[in-house]
Symmetry: C2
Subunit: 214 residues, 2 copies
């Protein structure tokens, strides 16, 4: 599936330094997704990656910087995977619906929301977040244009702008992660909002008491 969306290129990690950096980011993402920023230590991440804690400091500076970088990378991976899952849609409705259902409730989206909240207070980490949004917006824009070209549609007539797609996804992720509302409800609300604007019809509300489904 990934071959269908070469636009989300992951840089090959060829040099030893890049390989270690990438291993640390993988270990960090897995641990931070499971436990959050507070309950994970630099030592835990280093151990998982077969590295020394000093290597985390060397490559990333602080645990917070590693958190934000790992979360931004996971967000780009999630976007790539969502595009891949949507790469053979029946139509644009199906394309957007598959994108939404791939993203809402995904651990990578919730991690990214946490990274954004952290970056509110850390001006030094904001340039990385800015670059992540630029890439997210640009790649999603391109994926939608490619999709329309494959479907022989006009590129501009029903432009769902990537910027707004991700803003709504973030709002849904921030809310759903903190309330336990079901991914099904949030995805339906997001689709209604994309197609109908804020004034579209309401969808049925479902609450789930457990976090199991997210």
């Amino acid at each position: 599936m990934l071959k269908a969306v070469p636009q989300f290129k992951v840089q090959p990690a060829e040099k030893p330094g890049q390989r270690m950096r990438s291993r640390l980011l993988d270990a960090a993402a897995a641990q931070f997704k499971a436990l959050g920023l507070t309950d994970v230590s630099v030592a835990d991440i280093a151990a998982d990656a077969g590295a020394f804690p000093s290597q985390v400091t060397y490559y990333f500076g602080t645990k917070e910087a590693l958190f934000v970088e790992a979360a931004c990378r996971e967000m780009l991976y999630l976007a790539r995977d969502a595009e891949a899952a949507s790469s053979h849609p029946k139509n644009e409705h199906d394309y957007i619906e598959t994108m939404v259902r791939s993203v809402i409730g995904a651990p990578g989206l919730n991690l990214f929301v946490e990274a954004l909240a952290l970056a509110h207070r850390r001006l030094d980490l904001q340039p990385l977040v800015q670059r992540t949004f630029e890439r997210l917006d640009a790649e999603s824009d391109r994926a939608l244009r490619d999709h329309r070209a494959r479907q022989r549609q006009s590129p501009g007539n029903t432009a769902v702008h990537a910027h707004r797609f991700w803003v709504i996804a973030l709002g849904m992720g921030a809310r759903g992660g903190a309330t336990g509302e079901s991914s099904e409800f949030l995805a339906s609300e997001m689709l209604a909002l994309i197609w109908g604007g804020a004034e579209g019809p309401r969808v049925g509300r479902q609450q789930t008491p457990s976090k199991g489904e997210r």
Copy 2:
């Protein structure tokens, strides 16, 4: 102005315990807005409120619980103030625009985004967040219905659903707080999204390098 929106009732703090609780929440909100969760101590908040640190523990349990409760209360105050600012609009367009411009970039919105991210990992704090959203949605729904009744409009014909209004505001707040995009740009994007859905026309983009305007 507040008399115009009695729907956002703030409970009177009459009993001594309620007064102290309220003073601690005021002090917490001010300090957390200025410095964030990590850089504020329970002792700082207690000192500001003329209390002992043990009183914070007595009323709220943990610093995190105090953070989330203070942020939820600030969010409800912000919504009340935004409704008040919008209480004499020329028309519904003006009503929604004033609401958006009152909310986007407000410190209370950014604090609430941080509280949501914190509650992702704290199941014990999620019921408070759920109640805050229920109140936010219900009060905003009511404020819009009241506005329409005053304007002798049909209550249902152009329903901007409160739930979606706040989801978009949260997404914009999460993004803008972490990238430094200007409140002006984010508010324009939010208005375009409310009126045109994800497919409405793009607005011009402005970046501000400093946090001063937010």
